[in-house]
């Protein structure tokens, strides 16, 4: 049971890293990024491919962050001229392009066969000790990310991105260029998603394109919606609730034995969706948000 809890906690922390990026991008800046999983996938594949070719895991994780940041520049540049909803569509398309490219670039990524045997972190330690070491490392990185995003949110930079969220035209009228701020915000969120992807690859040790479907993006969106989009604590609490819902609904089968295993997968998603709707009606600002926030 403790091994199970450690595993769930590690996956939760990976979602916290993803959700923190959305807190920065949407909660603070108002950017609707529906392609978050694209950056996650770039991070996972970058680190997996580098380490499979003999590079150390630490280099893989750093490279994952950098590689994920690269597309933020052109996407941010596009966002200069797009309205919120179109930007959402462009980012969604971006993440699908990433998935289709890794599916078809078979020479590199082995396509739909996937990449097995990705190096584990702390592989030299015994099973349980290595799990705890991985958990400790991801926890440290997540705490660092929480500290960094909190620092950003409370800084003049954070003040300005919230001003952009509230009224972009007024920011221009005050002589500041919203575009450059948006690009930086995208890049920081992308780097976090890239690191999350690398940790994911090294934890699961096997990646295939099917793991990087838009549903992952929307899980992260559910997390910040449940927890409160404009609160950093919202990303943490929301990810934890999401994971409890996703994992907890596994046990639904004990209560509903008449539903087949394959149908159960859909029922689980349905249950999560229902709870999300209830939460939005009951507490639209999220669990950690204050009244009047969005």
């Amino acid at each position: 049971m403790s091994a199970y809890l450690v595993a769930i906690t590690i996956l939760t922390l990976i979602y916290v890293l993803l959700a923190l990026g959305l807190t920065l991008q949407f909660g603070l800046t108002g950017l609707i990024n529906f392609g978050h999983v694209g950056f996650f996938a770039i991070g996972a594949y970058t680190s997996a491919l580098l380490t499979l070719n003999g590079w150390p895991v630490a280099v893989g994780i750093l490279a994952a962050a950098m590689a994920a940041m690269l597309p933020a520049l052109p996407i941010g540049y596009i966002s200069l001229r797009l309205r919120d909803d179109y930007f959402a569509i462009v980012t969604l398309a971006f993440s699908e392009v990433v998935r289709i490219v890794v599916t078809n670039a078979r020479d590199w990524t082995a396509g739909t066969q996937g990449l097995p045997g990705i190096a584990r972190l702390y592989a030299s330690l015994s099973g349980a000790a290595s799990e705890w070491a991985v958990l400790g490392t991801i926890l440290a990185v997540t705490l660092l990310a929480v500290w960094m995003i909190t620092r950003i949110a409370r800084s003049p930079f954070g003040r300005l991105i919230q001003a952009i969220r509230d009224n972009e035209v007024a920011v221009k009228a005050l002589g500041k260029d919203p575009a450059w701020f948006k690009i930086q915000v995208l890049a920081v969120g992308a780097a976090l998603a890239g690191i999350a992807g690398a940790f994911y690859a090294h934890y699961i040790t096997y990646i295939v394109p099917d793991q990087f479907v838009p549903l992952v993006t929307f899980y992260a969106w559910m997390a910040i919606t449940l927890g409160g989009a404009s609160r950093i604590s919202g990303a943490v609490v929301g990810s934890a609730i999401l994971m409890v819902l996703l994992e907890g609904s596994r046990f639904l089968h004990d209560f509903l034995p008449m539903i087949s295993d394959s149908a159960m997968a859909s029922v689980r998603i349905g249950v999560v969706g229902l709870l999300l709707i209830v939460c939005i009606i009951w507490r639209p600002q999220g669990l950690m948000g204050e009244r009047g926030e969005r």
Partner: protein
């Protein structure tokens, strides 16, 4: 520093909204622009501040052409505008609204933020002091820590004016500063504009409330269907037959 608008023309589709408009607004002046609905006042403002591209014509600030610059660059050059419908940063406090407007902040760069924390803290203290002084001057101190979305219409107008002041501009374009403001606060806002003008800041003001504007500005221009039809001292302008016909419908 003078503001010159030379032969500006602007079309929306087949409609000519601005037709060869020229205005010369001298340094430190208090210049009013009136005109009926749809006369093109807001479009003219948008062309001067860079939010709309004009078909032809020039905008000159102190003799230098600025009509190819972005809105941001024009603001940085000292020409700052406000909006007819206030564009406050609703979730930020009044104080934060003002601080966000301060130019050249080290803390607005991520590198500066993480690698020059002492400098960021020092600048923040300076910016906060400046914001406090502006709030004092505009009588916004008692709402300093309220989210801006909760302010009244008039307070939002004052907040926009305050934000503009954080840039230490030499010209402020005010788009209907009295619209949606209660009569008591109208006088208050007019007083603040007079005070600021006395410190050398030039104002170009679009306004619907004729009476308030004629009491405030010693010089008026009238825009009708995209053309300037009269300008001069308020009394003379309002007595002009063409103006009475176009703008006042002959009733005043």
């Amino acid at each position: 520093m003078s503001l010159e608008i030379l032969n500006i023309t602007k079309n929306f589709g087949g409609m000519r909204v601005l037709d060869d408009v020229s205005l010369s607004v001298p340094t430190g002046s208090l210049f009013g622009l009136i005109g009926p609905n749809g006369a093109g006042k807001s479009t003219l403002f948008a062309a001067i501040s860079g939010f709309q591209k004009q078909e032809t014509g020039e905008v000159r600030l102190d003799g230098k052409r600025i009509d190819a610059l972005s809105p941001q660059a024009r603001a940085r050059a000292g020409l700052v505008r406000t909006f007819q419908v206030p564009r406050e940063f609703g979730h930020l406090t009044v104080r934060e609204n003002l601080c966000a407007a301060a130019p050249n902040q080290t803390g607005e760069s991520l590198l500066g933020l993480f690698f020059r924390p002492a400098r960021v803290a020092r600048e923040e203290a300076e910016i906060a002091a400046e914001a406090a002084e502006i709030m004092q001057r505009l009588r916004l101190t008692q709402v300093a820590d309220q989210p801006a979305r909760l302010l009244s219409g008039g307070q939002k107008k004052l907040l926009e004016l305050g934000r503009a002041l954080m840039l230490e501009p030499r010209f402020i374009l005010l788009d209907e500063p009295f619209a949606g403001v209660n009569p008591v606060l109208i006088e208050e806002i007019a007083d603040r504009i007079r005070d600021l003008n006395a410190t050398g800041i030039g104002f170009l003001i679009i306004e619907h409330d004729l009476e308030a504007l004629t009491r405030l500005t010693p010089y008026l221009a009238v825009l009708d269907r995209g053309r300037i039809i009269a300008e001069g001292a308020p009394d003379a302008v309002l007595a002009d037959a063409q103006v009475r016909e176009a703008y006042l419908g002959g009733t005043v």
